[in-house]
Each structure stands twice: as C-alpha cells, then as structure tokens.
Amino acid sequence: MSALKSLNLVVLFLRIATAAAVITPFAVYYASTGSLEGFLFPKTDIQLPNLKFDVLSYNVSKSNNGYVLDLKLLNTGNVAFGITGIEGEVSLVNQDFKGRFSLESPIVLSPAREGSIRVVLLPVQGDLKTLEDALSRDEAFNVTGRATITLSDAELPFSFTAVLKPSEVGERGGF
C-alpha cells in the first residue's frame, strides 16, 4: 500500500471515529427518551430534605460563676440534625461586659427524636450583675462566634455575628 493511500485511510478512519464518538451518544440517549422534550428538558423531581426542629423548652440557670442555657430540641424534619460545636463571645453594646460561651455536649438528633444542649456562658470582663441589669433594660448585645451543625452525614461550619435585644430573642423563641 502506498504512503498516500495509508495517509488517506488514516484520515478517513479519524473522521469516521470522530463522527461516531459524537453521534452515537446523542442517538442512544435520544432513542432511550423517545421525545425531543424528554431529551432536552426531562421532568425531574428534586428531592429536597426537610430540615426542621422545634425548641420544646429552654431554661437559663446560674452556675458557680456563669450562666447555663439548657435548650430542649425536637427534630421534626426528615434528616438527622445535630450541633457539634458552638463557641463565641457575648458583649454589651453600651456597657463594659464581655463573656465567652461554649457548647458543653454535642448532640445529633435523628428524625422525631428530642434532646438537650447545654451552653455555658462565663464572664471574661465585667460581672454578671452588669449583664443582668442591661438585659432587664432590654439593652442591645453583640453575639459573635463559630458553630458546626451536622445535617445527615454532612457538616456545615459557619461563623455568626448578631446585634440582638432580649425582646427580639423572646419574640422569635430563640436566635
């Protein structure tokens, strides 16, 4: 076979192979769907998880040198929900008080299960009396920190910043 014939054969092979590589998948997928609409814009149901929880009760108590917040939660969604870490700072906007809070025990709640989390707040600067007085006057306070929540097998770390008033927290039943 001459060199020219071989060259033409190679070029022909490459063209056929390229055309087949492009046409075959389109033909197979089109044949399997049966219609142009199904091929281009099929009807799909997006399965979104239902993430929902209720705060059943909360209780703030005074410990030796700080506050303990007990929060009872019920997972009313359809995926496991958990809080594996919370830590941050609370400070009063107009007063000299700063405190640190952290999660005592992480929880993961399966659907329809309830459980409690405990968050401990310890003063770093100023005393608890200042905080109590300010909160009773509905003064604003800053909350900043980091948390990690788990949703099914996934983890979502995030940081948060908020300027809140006790009345606003009360209205919403929480943050």
Binding site: A3, S6, L7, L9, V10, V11, L14, A17, T18, A21, V22, T24, P25, F26, V28, Y29, Y30, S32, T33, G38, F39, L40, F41, P42, T44, I46, Q47, L48, P49, V79, T148, L151, S152, D153, A154, E155, L156, P157, F158, S159, F160, T161, A162, V163, L164, E168, R172, F175
Partner: protein
C-alpha cells in the same frame, strides 16, 4: 525519538489518564469539604450535584450525551496522540497528532470563567433580594475565593445578623493535569513546526545544488 514526539507522548498519556478517570475539573462545596452539605462537580465529561450526600439534580439526557461524546473525543484524541508519537516510522503518524488536550482544557477554563461571572449576575437580576441576602455570591463562586459565603439574615429576621458559611470553589488537580497536558501538547506542536521549518531550510540549499548540478552540463 524526536523531541516533539516525546513531548506529545507525555501529553497524550496524561490526557488519556485524565479522560479515563473522569473526575470533576471544577468543584464547589458548601460546608466541610470532606462532608459537604452541597457539592457541585463539573468537567467536560460529567456534572454532579449532591445535597447531603445524595444526588439532588440529574443532568438532562442531552447534556449526558454531550458529556459522553466529549469523553469519547478526549479518549480518541489522547489515544491518537499517543499512537502518533510512538509510530515514528510511519509517514502518516503526524496526522494522528492533534491539539485536543489544549483546546479542551482551555475551552473548559473559558466556560467556567464565563459561568462564574454570568450566573451570579443572572441570578441577581432575576431575584434582586439575593443581592441583599448573599452579598458576596459572585465572589464566592469564583475559584479560589475567600472561602465563605456571607448570608445576611436581616431580610429574613429583621435582626442585624449574618452567617459566614464555609464555602469552597476550586479547579481540581484533574483540571491542572489536563492543562499541563494541553501545555505539553502545544509545546510538541511548536517543536514539530520548528523541526519541519529547519528541515525545509536544510533541504533548500541541497535542492539548489542539485538543480545547479543538473543544469550545469547544458550551459
């Protein structure tokens, strides 16, 4: 083996491995990268979205066909480059060499750049509240951005608060391997053209001498 064939061979084998592996070239993860809440992976060979570990949206059949076609073209292109580089003695071997690793990786980079620029603009114009809710959405989608997506909760809660969610958008090792393969491929092409030009210039004086020798006895 000529230098350009060695470079083409490396390019072909690398691109063949990338095409057969088929993993994402660009990925976006919301949450812990090892256990993301939302994962989106894209390459010329596939598209994957996972919400809490399960597939959220499947690509339409037309897009799946396109991905398979692109993968077949990539495998074909890489295989022919490898064969062309190895079959040095055959006169048609140069016809097997092609620039598919270069065109595919550069084309993908252009598509990702355009999508990360245009999609947030489209989303912000269709849902104007999004600009207030996620002020750094456009920046967060860009590969190697700040690493967080800021969600302003004021529009939802009327309380001055925001969340910074862990967010990662990046071009993966597979993309960089494909780009390296493309760079090798274009280097091979340049070396091949340079070699051909040098061979042509060497052949010119020899041809002139031969012509002069052939004309000589008549004059």
């Amino acid at each position: 083996m000529e230098a350009f064939r060695v470079v083409y061979l490396a390019s072909g084998l690398l691109f063949l491995a990338v095409a057969l592996l088929g993993s994402a070239w660009w990925e976006l993860a919301l949450g812990e990268p090892a256990k993301p809440v939302l994962y989106v992976g894209l390459s010329p060979f596939g598209f994957e979205t996972k919400l809490l570990g399960s597939q959220a949206i499947g690509a339409p059949p037309a897009l799946n066909a396109l991905f398979i076609a692109l993968r077949a073209l990539a495998v074909l292109g890489a295989s022919t480059i490898t064969a062309g580089a190895l079959l040095a003695g055959k006169p048609w071997s140069r016809r097997l060499l092609n620039l598919r690793p270069f065109t595919m990786s550069i084309g993908f980079a252009i598509v990702v750049a355009a999508a990360t620029m245009l999609l947030p603009r489209y989303a912000l114009s269709s849902v104007p509240q999004l600009a207030q809710l996620a002020p750094n959405l456009a920046e967060a989608l860009t590969p190697y951005s700040s690493g967080y997506l800021r969600v302003n909760l004021y529009p939802l809660t009327r309380v001055n608060s925001y969340l910074d969610l862990a967010f990662k958008s990046q071009l993966t090792l597979s993309f960089w391997a494909a780009l390296l393969s493309g760079a090798l491929c274009i280097t091979g092409w340049i070396l091949s053209k340079k070699g051909a030009r040098e061979a042509l210039e060497e052949a010119k004086p020899a041809r002139a001498r031969n012509r002069a020798r052939a004309v000589g006895p008549e004059t």
